[in-house]
């Protein structure tokens, strides 16, 4: 009996470690493959040079990506934070509004990005008439980010001890003042880390952007121009660019991975501070 028990346990243990190994190796494999080849094909001109068919540089895409991040967050972040404030500080617990908003954010969280892309192209692009443009892309991705930021901001606000609220009310502060001077600042690390993570989402997004922001290889002159973010640039290069496109893809991929890595580290560093302030 005892030996059979052992065999069973050993097999399961092997599976656990095997699974962990597969997970680690997948990540390591992808990262090293992209990074090694990215370094091999590294050329400054491909990053900062001017875009041409001879030199499919990503410089314009870097600019577009930055603009897209900024504009999208400008739309999504305040809205999400206010929504989270309402859900946690104002709405009665278990009220209908809370339930419906939660249902809506959960639904949004599950919708595939290509469906967002379809919707964005139809609604912002055609119905509202923004066409293929940075504006259309930003509106579309902003909606995608709502559930991400709302959820995490809610968690961060819920972690703020009631003692702080009572302290503020006890001094005769209004609800609004308590929320914006005490509660939201106390939850700031969590909110900031949510925003950094959503920056990562924007940077990595392709399917929702390709038919909203479009894929024209140009430095956008206005918010109504089409352009490409880095991820879209990488996709188009892979699809249309042949061997030269692959080089561009490796390098763009390297840049993407590098940025995402930095953002993940920053988000977890800042987010890790959340609970600590409240411990004593």
């Amino acid at each position: 009996m005892a030996s059979r028990k052992n065999v069973f346990s050993i097999i399961l243990k092997v599976f656990v470690y095997l699974a962990m190994g597969v997970t680690v190796l997948s990540l390591a494999g992808i990262l090293s493959y992209i990074l090694v080849n990215g370094v091999k094909t590294f050329k400054w001109s491909l990053i900062f040079g001017k875009f041409s068919s001879q030199n499919p540089s990503m410089s314009f895409a870097i600019v577009t990506t930055c603009v897209t991040i900024f504009l999208t967050l400008l739309m999504a972040a305040p809205l999400s934070v206010f929504c989270a404030v309402y859900l946690t500080e104002y709405a009665k617990r278990g009220s209908k509004i809370v339930r419906y908003v939660r249902l809506a954010t959960e639904t949004l969280a599950g919708i595939p990005s290509i469906v967002f892309g379809l919707f964005g192209a139809i609604f912002f692009g055609t119905v509202l008439g923004f066409g293929y443009s940075i504006l259309t892309g930003c509106f579309t991705v902003a909606i995608m980010l709502l559930p991400v930021i709302i959820r995490q901001t809610e968690e961060a606000i819920k972690a703020v001890p009631d003692l702080y609220r009572e302290g503020s009310y006890g001094l005769g502060a209004s609800k609004l003042r308590t929320v914006f001077k005490i509660v939201v600042p106390s939850a700031a690390p969590g909110i900031v880390s949510a925003i950094i993570l959503s920056m990562g989402r924007i940077i990595g997004e392709t399917a929702a952007l390709i038919f909203t922001l479009g894929s024209v290889a140009q430095l956008p002159g206005s918010l109504l121009d089409s352009s490409r973010t880095l991820a879209v640039h990488m996709y188009i290069a892979t699809r249309d660019g042949g061997a030269a496109g692959r080089e561009v893809a490796f390098l763009t991929g390297t840049v993407l991975v590098f940025i995402i890595f930095l953002m993940n580290v920053a988000a977890s560093y800042i987010g890790g501070k959340v609970g600590k302030d409240f411990e004593n």
Binding site: F15, V22, L118
Partner: protein
């Protein structure tokens, strides 16, 4: 006064996500309607031919529905065991010292853009399949592998959280009865965390069925019913992204209708999630 205005302002901000869902439903289903009307719902869903440029054009997405189901099932076959076992590792085996690093690694896996997964699959997995098996490598198998890795972080994170939420006494009780660590984990801990793990898996399925870029780059995208896992396959998502750029008229409506079908799949998955969560709540109290 100021207080009331602020409260209503926040309320309006909260209602925006409800409004967004309503708008998305409205425009996707309204956009899909003309195609369904022209083609007919049944022929659209069960037709095997997709020839938008023929006269008259043919719009049947049966092969793509099956394709989406195939690659999602394939992704589960790979992602579920690896994901759940990795979650067990994270929750019960991972030494304290490397835990932070491991969980950072899982987050990074979640953060890598899908385009990079697709590119990796296209450059390495597809040629590998072409060299060692039949076909040109663009296949159900390639898509399943890529998606299998992509659903890992979702499954790992959700499962790990639910494994850790199981009261310590369950696990310790099992150990105290003389069960080995593995027996305690697999016969006590995992059954207790069942609904959380299922939630993770359903969320993973949602991610797999909705994934676009990575699949398009490795699946071959031929509109056929694949007979083997080495054959090419086209998913619903691929159909949208490949043809949306140039589609017009009924063709465009049919693309939106493809999106609507995908949307319905996701809503059904959400429904399943609701049932799982409700079940766990009643079981828990």
């Amino acid at each position: 006064m100021k207080e009331k205005i602020a409260e209503y302002f926040f309320l309006i901000c909260s209602l925006i996500s409800i409004g967004a869902v309503a708008l998305i439903c409205f425009f996707i289903f309204r956009g899909a309607y003309p195609a369904v009307q022209t083609v007919g719902l049944w022929p659209f869903l069960t037709g095997g031919l997709w020839k938008p440029t023929d006269i008259p054009p043919l719009f049947g997405i049966f092969n793509m529905i099956v394709g989406s189901v195939y690659v999602t099932a394939g992704a589960c076959l790979i992602g579920v065991p690896v994901g759940v076992f990795t979650a067990v590792y994270m929750a019960k085996y991972c030494p304290q010292k490397i835990y932070a690093g491991m969980s950072q690694l899982v987050s990074l896996l979640a953060g890598i853009p899908s385009i990079i997964y697709g590119f990796f699959g296209m450059m390495l997995i597809v040629p590998f399949i072409a060299d060692n098996f039949s076909g040109n490598g663009n296949s159900v198998l390639a898509a399943s592998i890529v998606l299998g890795v992509m659903v890992l972080p979702t499954i790992i994170k959700v499962s790990e959280v639910s494994l850790k939420a199981v009261p310590k006494t369950y696990y310790e009780g099992a150990l105290a009865l003389g069960a080995t660590k593995e027996q305690s984990i697999f016969f006590v801990l995992i059954p207790a965390a069942k609904s959380g793990i299922l939630t993770g898996i359903v969320l993973g399925i949602g991610r797999a069925i909705g994934e676009t870029m990575a699949v398009v780059m490795v699946a071959g995208n031929a509109n056929i019913l694949p007979e083997t896992i080495f054959k090419s396959v086209r998913t619903l998502t691929a159909n949208i992204v490949l043809e949306m750029g140039y589609a017009s008229g009924t063709h465009f409506d049919a693309i939106v209708a493809t999106g609507a079908v995908l949307f319905v799949f996701i809503l059904l998955l959400n429904l399943v999630l609701g049932v799982i969560n409700k079940g766990s709540k009643t079981a828990g109290t």
